[in-house]
């Protein structure tokens, strides 16, 4: 039998949290990727967000998890940029000493293989290629969006939070969320049109 908060709402069970994280992890990774444009950092951000959710916010109803998790993800992304700003000062100072090829050393060809796809793949290779190209263009367009517009768009439409939840996750007013979303949609439409992509 589920456990309850004092107001009668049931707490999220282990299974619900597990299922929620499994469902949301890839979208969270993509969100982080659009923002930071670095796979390792994006995975770190998702990992931090998951840990924060399970360590500090696990005593919440399952219905609150999406909004809470998105808020944590956004804050973790902002923290990443704050740390990066401090680090870049030192990087600039040390860049004169030259850079190594650490990135090349870390390259693992196995990691470039796509994970086994589990759904939504068309059988036709030509259609698959076209779909991948469109996805690539959309992802590039999302990366180019201003951060707040991208956040609002992804939270509202991809994470399917309502305006109030998105506002809470972003720490802004509902009006701002609507404005950011509207601007994001129009900016995306123009960018896709410029690339010759029609949906």
């Amino acid at each position: 039998m589920p456990r309850y908060l004092s107001d009668g709402r049931p707490l999220a069970t282990y299974q619900e949290i597990s299922a929620f994280l499994a469902e949301v992890e890839r979208r969270a990774f993509k969100q982080a990727m659009f923002a930071v444009r670095d796979e390792h950092s994006a995975v770190d951000i998702v990992q931090d967000a998951m840990l924060k959710l399970t360590e500090k916010y696990s005593d919440k109803p399952a219905a609150e998890l999406p909004m809470l998790f998105q808020r944590i993800v956004q804050n973790t992304i902002h923290d990443h940029f704050r740390r990066q700003k401090v680090r870049s000062t030192w990087t600039t100072l040390l860049s004169a000493l030259g850079r190594g090829d650490e990135k090349d050393d870390d390259f693992d060809p196995l990691e470039t293989l796509a994970a086994k796809s589990d759904s939504n793949q068309t059988a036709d290779p030509a259609a698959q290629l076209e779909q991948r190209q469109v996805i690539g263009v959309i992802e590039q367009a999302l990366e180019r969006l201003p951060a707040r517009q991208r956040e609002a768009f992804l939270l509202r439409y991809w994470e399917e939070l309502d305006v109030a939840e998105a506002a809470q996750a972003m720490g802004c007013s509902e009006g701002s969320v609507k404005t950011h979303c509207s601007r994001a949609v129009h900016a995306l439409a123009e960018m896709l049109k410029a690339k010759g992509v029609s949906l």
């Binding site: 456990r3 908060l5 509202r156």
Partner: protein, 141 residues
């Protein structure tokens, strides 16, 4: 549904289609991250969730465990910090004590050497004796 919503839904459908195409390494790391996060769930008893409890008791227990788990996490971190600080302070204090003891030992040895010597202490204060000592040492060299 507004045209904006329709357009946005089309985009998110494409984004959904792109999700399975994550690199194997990335998907694996995400899976590991999830496993680690779940392992650290604040209240492991959630896993069973078979225990029936009254809402009031649960509210208290839930809040309590939440606070405890948070406290434990923070307490653990702070505990290590304080332990580190205590070790540094103890090491500093120990070094100071050891130095003071060494100084005392040196003074004791000097005093003992002076007192046990056949030469009277007043001789060290006598300028003539000091001049003779210097001369004697030059001559020896």
């Amino acid at each position: 549904m507004s045209p904006d919503d329709i357009f946005a839904n089309k985009i998110t459908t494409y984004l959904d289609h792109g999700l399975p195409d994550l690199k194997a390494g990335t998907a694996y790391r995400l899976q590991l991250a999830r496993a680690e996060a779940l392992a650290r769930l604040a209240d492991p008893a959630r896993a069973t969730s078979a225990q029936a409890v009254t809402s009031a008791a649960v509210a208290g227990a839930g809040n309590g465990t939440g606070a405890m788990s948070g406290g434990r996490g923070m307490g653990g971190g702070r505990g290590w910090l304080w332990l580190g600080i205590a070790l540094i302070v103890a090491a500093g204090f120990g070094y100071q004590q050891w130095q003071a003891y060494q100084q005392l030992t040196d003074i004791e040895e000097t005093d003992a050497a002076i007192l046990s010597s056949e030469l009277p202490i007043d001789a060290y204060l006598d300028r003539g004796f000091q001049n003779w000592l210097k001369r004697a040492s030059y001559e020896q060299e």
